[in-house]
């Protein structure tokens, strides 16, 4: 792992909502091709971190680097354009727009990608979306919406994929299907993924490394297998 290129490097990051400190001196690294889990219970600061990376929130202190470039104070659209896509918390459907329009908006800032080719690949992974392409996104089932949210994020061939609460409201079987599809995509396309998850068990099962956030601070980090065996993680997040 040491030799691979650094995708995302966050150092000493502090984020506030007014007087409320939501992230405190967080350090985090994601290398090319890794799947990294960001674990923590409600209110730990996972979404805050995702939103700060893409510039929807601004850090009070610290630095965010993406492929060696400082993006801490960069505008969201510029950051997205440089190769980051997001699966928003709660799926972020544009409910009255069609499935196709949602997908087309996935390449709004990712110029120079072959939309039609990627669309074909997506329809191969998720055939149901092909059937539903002219339907309003809001009429899809929860699982189908999650597939659409993922598809919309990968259709622009991002270098880094940020996923906020992928497993929310999905049955365990569905979570497995989606994670397996992601692993396959990672292997084929070389995506790098940062995965914010409450569901520690599933997340660790499918990732390479993990960080555990608690009340805005990183309390643990390490190899996914090690974390799975860690007594603190077991009692706090795996319910053992």
């Amino acid at each position: 792992m040491e030799q691979t290129e650094m995708m995302l490097k966050i150092s000493d990051l502090s984020v506030y909502y007014g007087p409320i400190c939501a992230l405190k001196k967080v350090d985090l690294e994601v290398r090319k091709g890794e799947i990294v889990a960001l674990l923590g219970s409600n209110g730990a600061g996972k979404s805050t971190l995702v939103n700060t990376i893409i510039g929807l929130l601004h850090a009070k202190r610290g630095k965010i680097e993406f492929m060696g470039r400082d993006i801490t104070r960069q505008k969201t659209e510029t950051t997205i354009q440089s190769g980051i896509s997001v699966v928003p918390e709660g799926r972020g459907m544009l409910a009255n727009m069609t499935v196709m329009e949602n997908l087309q908006l996935g390449v709004y800032r990712h110029k120079g990608v072959d939309f039609n080719k990627n669309l074909e690949m997506i329809f191969e992974y998720f055939p149901i979306l092909k059937e539903r392409q002219w339907q309003a996104a809001g009429t899809l089932s929860g699982g189908e919406q999650q597939m659409l949210a993922i598809s919309r994020a990968i259709v622009g061939e991002p270098k880094l994929l940020l996923m906020d609460e992928l497993s929310l409201a999905l049955s365990p079987a569905y979570v497995d299907i989606i994670f397996k599809a992601l692993i396959k995509l990672r292997n084929e396309k070389g995506f790098t993924i940062l995965l914010a998850e409450q569901n520690a068990k599933k997340a660790l099962q499918y990732s390479d490394r993990g960080y555990v956030l608690d009340l805005g601070e990183t309390v643990l980090e390490g190899d996914a297998r090690e974390l799975m065996g860690n007594p603190y993680v077991q009692t706090a997040y795996l319910g053992a």
Binding site: E77, G92, M93, L94, N96, L105, Y108, R109, A136, T139
Partner: protein, 292 residues
């Protein structure tokens, strides 16, 4: 029968003008989530600028160009006013702001143009203001041209909003601003683009009004604005296609009321009809069964 057809065409062209105004306001609603009450005032200001420019140059083309310049400049100049309010999700304040802009424009027209007198446009400006007979029916060619122009402009704008990447981005902003930003839609630039297009549209509306009506005055902005805001609510805010249909419907209803009902009942019918719809269909005449 002949007069019915003439009235119908009359109504359709008035409806077309309403439709374009509502379309412009819906476009601004998409990008900044505001009811830009003063959009009609800008259209009327364009007419006044056209009148002034023609007075100086006696050149129709230059006058129309001046109208486009005015429309784009003034509309885009209002964007920075709304941006901070739109960012913090203000609601009532934006209405006050928009009405304020409208009042200022009305005063400017009353003070600076033709000493506050009504401005009438010459036949050159009205381009096609010639009688036109079709069988036994006679009507102004300008009305037909206006109707066609409305259709062309509306089709173009709907195409833009539904089939181009930037149009989709504008609709995405209206739907869920946070998600639109996450997809990389720039809040600032897309808004300015929307205001710019609305500005071009305001000049088209001004030209069509010159052809159909042949005059302009300071009060016109208010008259149009009231109707446009009501039509917007009537169709459902931000409902682009519904806005066009209700406007055309309303133009026809008005024309028919004017022709066939005794006295000045046009307005009462206009508002009565709308009140009923708003009471029984609170989300607008064309509201879908919520997709959310």
């Amino acid at each position: 029968m002949e007069s019915f057809i003439a009235q119908l065409i009359n109504g359709l062209s008035t409806g077309g003008i309403y439709a374009l105004i509502v379309l412009g306001m819906n476009l601004l609603m998409l990008v900044r989530n505001i009811v830009h009450h003063s959009f009609s005032h800008i259209c009327v200001l364009n007419m006044c600028i056209g009148w002034l420019a023609f007075g100086y140059t006696q050149n129709v083309l230059l006058a129309f160009l001046a109208m486009f310049a005015c429309g784009v400049l003034v509309t885009v100049a209002t964007e920075p006013l709304f941006r901070p309010l739109s960012k913090r999700g203000a609601d009532l304040e934006t209405i006050v702001l928009a009405m304020g802009v409208g009042i200022i424009i009305t005063e400017i027209i009353a003070q600076l143009f033709n000493n506050g007198q009504m401005m009438t446009f010459s036949d050159e400006m009205r381009v096609l203001n010639v009688g036109f007979s079709f069988g036994t029916v006679t009507f102004s060619l300008a009305n037909i041209v206006a109707l066609v122009a409305c259709i062309v402009v509306a089709v173009f704008l709907v195409w833009y909003l539904f089939k181009t990447a930037n149009g989709r981005a504008m609709r995405a902003m209206a739907q869920n601003l946070r998600v639109a930003k996450m997809l990389g839609v720039p809040f600032g630039k897309t808004g300015v683009l929307g205001f710019g297009i609305a500005g071009l549209l305001s000049a088209c509306i001004g030209i069509i009004c010159i052809m159909c009506l042949g005059y302009a005055n300071a009060e016109m902005g208010d008259t149009f604005a009231t109707k446009a805001v009501i039509l917007m609510l009537f169709a459902g805010q931000g409902d682009i296609k519904g806005g066009i249909l209700s406007s055309i419907l309303m133009g026809v209803v008005e024309a028919m009321a004017l022709a066939y009902l005794p006295g000045r009942w046009t307005e009462a019918i206009f508002y009565g009809f709308i009140m009923i719809v708003i009471i029984i269909k609170p989300n607008g005449l064309f509201a879908k069964k919520a997709a959310n």
